[in-house]
């Protein structure tokens, strides 16, 4: 008896692709919220200001007046954005001069710093809070292992996908937690400033991230950057049809009119750690192609190179983070050459900073901001499908998140608390 197979539409795998990018973002936010609620319960007053690059213009204290705090926060965020811009331009210059080896080394070095020192510090906070009786030798061995394998995972392009993705999420968590230690007004001003910077840097023709993306596309190279690339969605059900993908939403091709390579490229759907959309030139079309799996695998067997390597046109726009690694290219959402979605690590970090800051107030704001950010990410993905070029992933989500944070804090909380107190609802 013949079985009627439902023809595959793009909707079947669209959900899976979106899930594969939303899941790591959610995990990152969740871990940051957990860390914030565990570690920050006693230091909520935070009278000690942390001297770092983001507060060098103004160290906020709780006793300043409203305008002082606002001015100070704006000044801090301006300084930070200026530093990030300069560093990104330096990055573009280095990439232009083809110092990719140096950039990769720097990336590995900064990952080691983040994983080793910041990871170690957060682990020490946890050990101290829970009085875990671990001795220093074991701790050092475990930390060294963790950091060394993390550097390898980030550095080498062919490590196990799951290990690389896990380490990128961990790096995002650590940097985001570090950012939540900043004073409150500075954090919010910084988020808004970075969203505006992202918008400008990716969309303006003179923006450094756009230059970087166009350079990488014209040279057909990968930007050495910390980018999360989701695993491609492979279609297990398409069997005997021709190799042409049935659902071709976005096409990313470097070779115009070369269908066989399209199919290969199309197999990896969402490998996107890069938050940058891939900018396509005139003849490229980004495509989330779902080729039939049978065909794809045959072609894979012919090529020995893994598909992940073929993501040259996906770029991640990023912003350097304040700690050490300006090579953390952060923002931007885009598509890999294989059609995988890439989300830059900076987007992970700033989303988690927003949610972490919301967690410092109450969990109600966490829920509201989480939903707002996911909605913003969905909107950005739709825009990415529509425009098919590199897009900044921060502005929409941060705008919605900040809006919902203040609305929740000002309006929803009063309503919910009063309702609960009077036993009207909940």
């Amino acid at each position: 008896m013949a079985q009627i197979q439902r023809p595959k539409s793009f909707l079947d795998s669209l959900g899976e692709e979106i899930i594969r990018i939303i899941t790591p973002v959610s995990i990152c936010m969740f871990i940051v919220v957990i860390l914030v609620s565990i570690l920050n319960t006693d230091s909520s007053s935070a009278s000690t200001t942390i001297n770092n690059i983001a507060t060098m213009a103004y160290a906020e204290t709780t006793s300043d007046s409203f305008w002082d705090k606002l001015k100070g926060a704006l000044l801090n965020s301006l300084v930070f954005v200026a530093i990030v811009t300069v560093v990104t331009f330096v990055l573009v210059l280095l990439f232009y001069l083809r110092c990719t080896q140096f950039l990769k080394l720097y990336m590995g070095f900064s990952s080691f710093i983040v994983l080793g020192f910041m990871g170690g510090e957060i682990a020490l906070f946890l050990i101290r809070d829970f009085s875990v009786p671990i001795d220093c030798f074991t701790f050092l061995v475990v930390l060294f292992n963790f950091a060394a394998v993390g550097v390898l995972a980030v550095f080498m392009s062919k490590m196990a996908i799951f290990v690389t993705q896990a380490y990128l999420v961990v790096i995002g968590v650590l940097v985001a937690y570090w950012f939540t230690l900043l004073p409150e007004w500075t954090t919010w001003a910084l988020l808004v400033a970075m969203a505006l910077y992202d918008l400008a840097a990716v969309l303006l023709p003179v923006g450094p991230l756009r230059l970087l993306v166009e350079l990488a596309i014209s040279r057909d190279e990968d930007i050495p950057a910390l980018v999360y690339e989701a695993r491609p969605v492979t279609n297990h059900h398409s069997g005997s049809r021709d190799g042409v993908a049935q659902r071709r939403l976005w096409r990313e091709r470097r070779n115009v009119g070369n269908d066989s390579e399209e199919n290969l490229n199309s197999e990896s759907s969402l490998d996107s750690n890069l938050t940058n959309g891939t900018v396509d030139g005139g003849h490229h079309t980004t495509r989330l192609a779902r080729a039939e799996e049978g065909q794809l695998l045959e072609r894979d067997a012919e090529l020995s190179a893994p598909l992940i390597d073929r993501r040259s046109s996906v770029q991640v726009h990023g912003q350097g983070d304040a700690v050490s690694s300006e090579s953390l290219l952060l923002e931007g959402i885009g598509l890999g050459s294989t059609g995988a979605i890439k989300l830059g690590l900076g987007d992970f970090i700033f989303y988690s900073v927003l949610v972490g800051r919301a967690a410092m107030y109450d969990f109600m704001t966490v829920y509201a901001c989480y939903l707002a950010i996911i909605a913003g990410l969905g909107i950005t993905l739709m825009l990415l499908a529509f425009y098919q070029k590199a897009l900044p992933a921060l502005p929409v989500s941060v705008a919605l998140g900040v809006l919902f944070y203040f609305l929740t804090r000002l309006l929803l909380e009063a309503f919910v608390v009063q309702c609960s107190l009077n036993l009207v609802m909940f």
């Binding site: 101290r128 001795d135 196990a160 893994p306």
Partner: protein, 145 residues
């Protein structure tokens, strides 16, 4: 009827091979359930020759006090461990990595548990000097953010 029966046999034969996510191996899975791809990523991972050099490199680097790298090696080349006759060149490295990881973890865990459970009764005043939160306070490791 025959059509459906052959369908079922091929799918069942392809069953063990699909652990690697590769229905393309259904052709040789009828003969032997050997996977085509040595890595856990399947067609997205490495080819067999590259796998050999990667497995060897991970194995050698693991001797620099990196048992976690050995564990990642075993995870990455899980199909090699599972199917004992599939990749004869890669298998020694992965098996040795697994053995090294187990031995190291056993030693480390036994030391850590002895330290944690024994506590001051076993070690005396040295325990306070070795435990991590005291070391962190003494060296001021949590001060600089």
């Amino acid at each position: 009827m025959e059509g459906s029966q052959t369908n079922s046999t091929t799918t069942s034969a392809a069953g063990p091979a699909t652990t690697t996510g590769n229905p393309n191996s259904s052709s040789n899975s009828i003969l032997s359930s050997a996977p085509v791809w040595p890595t856990v990523d399947g067609p997205l991972g490495l080819s067999e020759d590259e796998s050999l050099s990667y497995a060897r490199r991970f194995y050698k680097f693991g001797f620099a006090l990196l048992p976690w790298l050995w564990a990642v090696n075993c995870f990455y080349f899980w199909p090699v461990l599972r199917h004992s006759r599939a990749f004869p060149r890669i298998r020694p490295y992965v098996v040795r990595s697994a053995a090294g990881f187990s031995v190291f973890t056993f030693l480390l865990c036994s030391w850590a548990l002895t330290f944690a459970i024994g506590g001051e009764e076993l070690f005396g005043p040295v325990w306070d000097k070795l435990v991590m939160y005291n070391v962190a306070d003494r060296l001021g490791l949590t001060g600089w953010v």
